[in-house]
Amino acid sequence: MGLEEKIPDSIILTTVDYVVNWSRKSSMWPFGFGLACCAIEMMSTFASHFDLSRFGMEVMRPSPRQADLMIVAGRVSIKMAPVVKRLYDQMPNPKWVISMGACASCGGIFNNYAILQGVDRIIPVDIYVPGCPPRPEQLIDGIVKLHKKVMTESIKGRTDRQPQRAAT
């Protein structure tokens, strides 16, 4: 919705906020970026036992242009980091990022020359789900927390979010 930037600050939009946020959280399509072992747990979360489509994530879009939520599942190596950034930039607003697992959150057990120490050095992250790998219940807990966070957002926010940590 591109009219967020044009609404002046003096207008209160509570009911519109509520409806917009409810519709955003109820059908948030994930762009599951499964890189390593956390991808297996993400796949099992999407499967029938721990179903994610009951949370509105019916389809997992492989194209970033059609996705809202990027779940970075797994180790991000330094060679892969520009690709992750480019895919994040290709996602249209509004977009959210869940960093799944220890390696995506902080580098995990790999503190070496090859692994990026946390994906929040390159893209802004909303929810960190710890674990190695996190169980499907933990990922669902993270997604429910993200839904609560979306419900508290204002329609005017979320345009120029920066990564939380410096890239170096």
Binding site: I78, K79, P82, G107, N111, Y113, A114, L116, A167, T168
Partner: protein
């Protein structure tokens, strides 16, 4: 050097190599069912051709080429291990050569004989900095482009390097030690 009992095929291989190359075969070792032969690095190309084409050896598969960094022995610092396997005989032999430490440690590439050596030698080059002469396309394979240093050397610091993107490729961030 540990000497367990060699099987007849392994003794045959060792005998064939010693007959062909003489003094360049400096020793052998058998430990935990793994048979290794130590050779000089000057003959490695002829030895690869001999291993592949002769009837007595017949090693048609090169499984792996890996490198070891013996940092405490500068005159024999880099050890390159060639892992040959014979499909017909079900026999595996490790050929180990050493390269002394210098600015540009190098060894002849065996890629013209075994074409699978292409990416394996690129990996040894990327990780240890050993150049392979005669290799058609020697460049980095596992680390990102523009990475400086040879990660698997024992004097490479266990550190974290900042990623390089297109917007900062002309002004790359410095390495955190």
């Amino acid at each position: 050097m540990v000497h367990a009992e060699l099987t007849t095929e392994e003794s045959g291989i060792l005998q064939a190599l010693t007959d062909q190359f003489g003094d360049a075969i400096t020793g052998h070792e058998k430990f935990a069912d793994q048979f290794s032969i130590f050779v000089e690095r000057a003959i490695i190309f002829e030895l690869a051709r001999f291993m592949k084409e002769e009837e007595t050896t017949g090693f048609d598969l090169l499984s792996d080429i890996c490198g070891v960094d013996w940092i405490k022995q500068p005159e024999r610092r880099f050890e390159i291990v060639y892992n040959f396997y014979s499909i017909k005989k079900n026999l595996r032999v490790l050929i180990r050569t050493t390269i002394p430490d210098s600015d540009k440690p190098s060894i002849r590439s065996i890629e013209p004989v075994y074409s699978g050596a292409d990416w394996m030698e690129r990996e040894v080059y990327d990780m240890l900095g050993v150049e392979f002469e005669g290799h058609p396309d020697l460049r980095r394979i596992l680390t990102p482009d523009g990475f400086e240093g040879w990660p698997h050397r024992k004097d490479f610091p266990l550190t974290y390097e900042a990623p390089r993107f297109s917007y900062n490729k002309d002004n790359p961030p410095e390495i955190i030690k």
